[in-house]
Symmetry: C2
Subunit: 221 residues, 2 copies
């Protein structure tokens, strides 16, 4: 049985990605990060999703407090109602985030003899993020080949991006098809009891459910 | 004035590398990691070296407790008096260590508008480590170009490896030439009051000083 490490943020995309790994027949380990998010609601969701699948869940810390991004710590407010989704690099870009998370996932793969990393990156809704593009993942795989024991010994580690080219409504449909507990996931940039319904992430999610013809069972303000 | 981030472990190699960045005319920020080393002696040395140069010193945490390596936490003892230095991948290899550290350095570069990372990797003494080779650093630079805001906007971040091809005695000589406070550095894998003088790292260091014709002012057991 092949073994996979799946990056699990607790959002919709990563939960569906995790289900893809299970569906693909991998023994799956979930990996989540505390990186100074403005709230830990996502991590509560990640835990709930991993428990739903009864799998090993590694939660680890990365200190990104010295990084410049609106998503981290005490920096400026996240813009709301932005109209340029997908047009430029958003201020929610976190420097080197996927690079750091994939590097730690690589180390975990080497430590548990896993040979693939699943990441719920999406180039449709997040076309502005350089580290959500296929060409980044391809060169990352090359880097793993050159820079790890596994790589130089002929056991390359693959980066698998099952939802990279899917629209949000296709992701919702795939999640429904794979019986993902979507009601356990959290997408909102804010961390209240209910999702705000107005941030980029909520708008994308709500439109996705609407276009897919499903009701989002997460509560909104 | 160009700006650089230097990975500073507190050992001989990284201290000389830091001095190279200063000598090259960079405004230099030192970056050190707590990653579950068996002792924190190195970090005390890193702090002393950064203070000597009166520069900003960022110390950050990486949780590698789930990684498999003799250098981390409670895993098995480090082999001593190994006779195969440079022959295979040593059990002191830490999965994806340089990959993770360079990724965090990349994020810091983007956050402070630095365009180069100095790392004291050495392919002579550490030829067994896949992530200490030039071909790894080259593909890492490509990966930065594809996966960061700085990279896609035409501000690539370079990896600089000033001591990559130097022997240990050449590193000692360079350190002496640049007036590096070598007495403040710590190389021993053990964390006692005095260096053990018997581990791989001590042996390499002692031979380096001897071959360079200098006395190592660090105390040995």
């Amino acid at each position: 049985m092949p073994k996979a490490v799946v990056l699990l943020s607790g959002g919709l995309d990563s939960a569906v990605t995790l289900a893809c790994s299970v569906y693909d027949g991998n023994e799956t380990i979930a990996l989540s990060f505390r990186y100074g998010q403005r709230h830990t609601k996502e991590l509560v969701s990640a835990k709930a999703v991993a428990e739903h699948y009864n799998m090993r869940h590694v939660v680890t810390d990365i200190d990104m407090s010295m990084f410049r991004s609106s998503l981290i710590g005490n920096s400026k407010e996240i813009e709301k109602d932005r109209t340029n989704i997908g047009k430029d690099i958003p201020d929610t870009y976190v420097p080197a985030r996927n690079m750091i998370m994939l590097s730690i996932a690589t180390g975990l793969c080497e430590s548990v003899d896993a040979d693939r990393i699943y990441i719920g990156a999406n180039s449709v809704d997040y076309s502005g993020y350089p580290d959500c593009r296929n060409e980044f993942f391809k060169v990352f795989e090359e880097m793993i080949k050159k820079g790890t024991k596994a790589g130089v010994e002929g056991r390359p580690i693959k980066i698998v991006t099952p939802i990279l080219d899917l629209s949000k409504s296709e992701i919702v449909k795939l999640g429904k098809k794979l019986n993902v507990p979507l009601h356990l996931t959290w997408s909102c940039y804010s961390g209240g009891d209910k999702a705000c319904g107005r941030c980029d992430s909520c708008i994308l999610r709500l439109n996705g459910f609407k276009d897919a013809g499903y009701k989002d069972e997460v509560e909104y303000q």
